[in-house]
């Protein structure tokens, strides 16, 4: 749908690409149509008050907010309501996915650490093994969250890991003077959180970029049969 307003068309194209990299077209159509109508109305009312069309469009788009932010607001809301249960309503679907992935990763990690510590006698080797395992587990868990939560995956990991780290600290503190629990909580804070977030960001960005490229190619193929 073109409005003979190139600035508005560019903005809407940016919103559309961002939204459709997450949400199926049939679910996004109403949102895109409403957004366009809203913006056209806002521009028209400013023009009727005497503003220049270009200036009116720029002002309206500024008030409306960045295309990516608006697209992500809608995509995040769509994702949350795609599968609603009591639990997802309570803590958020994306947060729940992140909690599940990281709890599974940590349980596997602890199991492997247990085996590794028994088979390695050297303390340095044990420490190296523990750090490597934590890095790999965080990266894999973060990547999986990014694949399942294509919008604001980093935020969901942060929301999931902060309470998990606090629980680890509390358990660790109660186990003192044995420092293992506190070390585990510190590793969550210093390694798991940043690596998980980075990996999720890369993963969700790559999946969205791939979908966007596919869409652009499909649109090009349709316009040049």
């Amino acid at each position: 749908m073109s409005s003979q307003n190139p600035i508005l068309d560019d903005y809407m194209r940016a919103v559309e690409l961002q939204v459709l990299s997450v949400v199926p077209k049939e679910d996004a159509q109403e949102f895109l149509a409403e957004t366009r109508i809203h913006l056209q109305q806002a521009i028209r009312s400013r023009v009727e008050c005497g503003a220049d069309r270009h200036q009116a469009t720029t002002e309206v788009l500024k008030r409306y907010g960045p295309a990516k932010l608006n697209a992500d607001d809608f995509s995040a809301s769509w994702f949350q309501y795609k599968q609603v249960t009591r639990l997802t309503k309570l803590i958020g679907r994306a947060n729940l996915i992140a909690v599940k992935q990281f709890v599974i990763a940590e349980v596997i990690c602890l199991g492997l650490l247990e085996v590794g510590m028994k088979s390695l006698s050297n303390t340095n080797a044990q420490l190296g093994f523990a750090i490597c395992l934590t890095i790999v587990a965080s990266a894999v868990a973060g990547w999986l969250v990014g694949q399942k939560v294509p919008v604001r995956a980093v935020r969901s990991i942060y929301n999931a890991l902060v309470p998990l780290t606090l629980v680890s600290f509390l358990i660790g503190a109660s186990l003192m003077p044995n420092p293992t629990g506190v070390f585990f909580a510190l590793s969550q804070l210093a390694l798991v959180l940043p690596l998980g977030c980075l990996s999720a960001h890369l993963s969700s960005s790559s999946i969205r970029r791939r979908r966007t490229i596919q869409m652009i190619k499909a649109a090009e193929a349709a316009s040049n049969p």
């Binding site: 949102f31 409403e34 809203h38 806002a42 409306y64 907010g65 608006n70």
Partner: protein, 120 residues
């Protein structure tokens, strides 16, 4: 003509956008642009939220069953999606108002200042 009010901080408005939207819809069906316009004009510009947040919110409210959205045509204009509040939406609005009243009373009981009073 009433004087325009200074804009309120976004973080204060964020949690209350739903209440404002439900309040407007309680008075009759409306579409997105009219809802934002109405909120801004009634608050004399004090409430200005990022307009892009409205549609995700309206769609969320539709999924929750608080509002019903239907496309309608007005004269020669393009079709617009008109939202109507449902009985569940009215209940939600009353819950929001109750929460707001309790918060307002709690703040008053600590500060001793009524909303229309000034501290200095």
């Amino acid at each position: 003509m009433s004087k325009r009010q200074p804009k309120l901080p976004t973080e204060l408005i964020k949690g209350n956008t739903k209440t404002l939207v439900l309040a407007i819809l309680r008075e009759g069906p409306s579409h997105g642009y009219a809802i934002t316009h109405e909120i801004e004009s009634r608050t004399l510009g004090a409430v200005q939220f990022r307009q892009g947040t409205l549609y995700p919110l309206l769609h969320e409210m539709e999924r929750e069953g608080w509002v019903l959205g239907e496309w309608a045509v007005f004269g020669d204009e393009r079709p617009k999606k008109v939202y109507t509040i449902t009985p569940a939406g009215i209940e939600e609005f009353e819950r929001c108002i109750d929460t707001w009243n309790r918060l307002s009373q709690a703040i008053q009981s600590v500060t001793g200042v009524l909303p229309h009073e000034q501290t200095s």
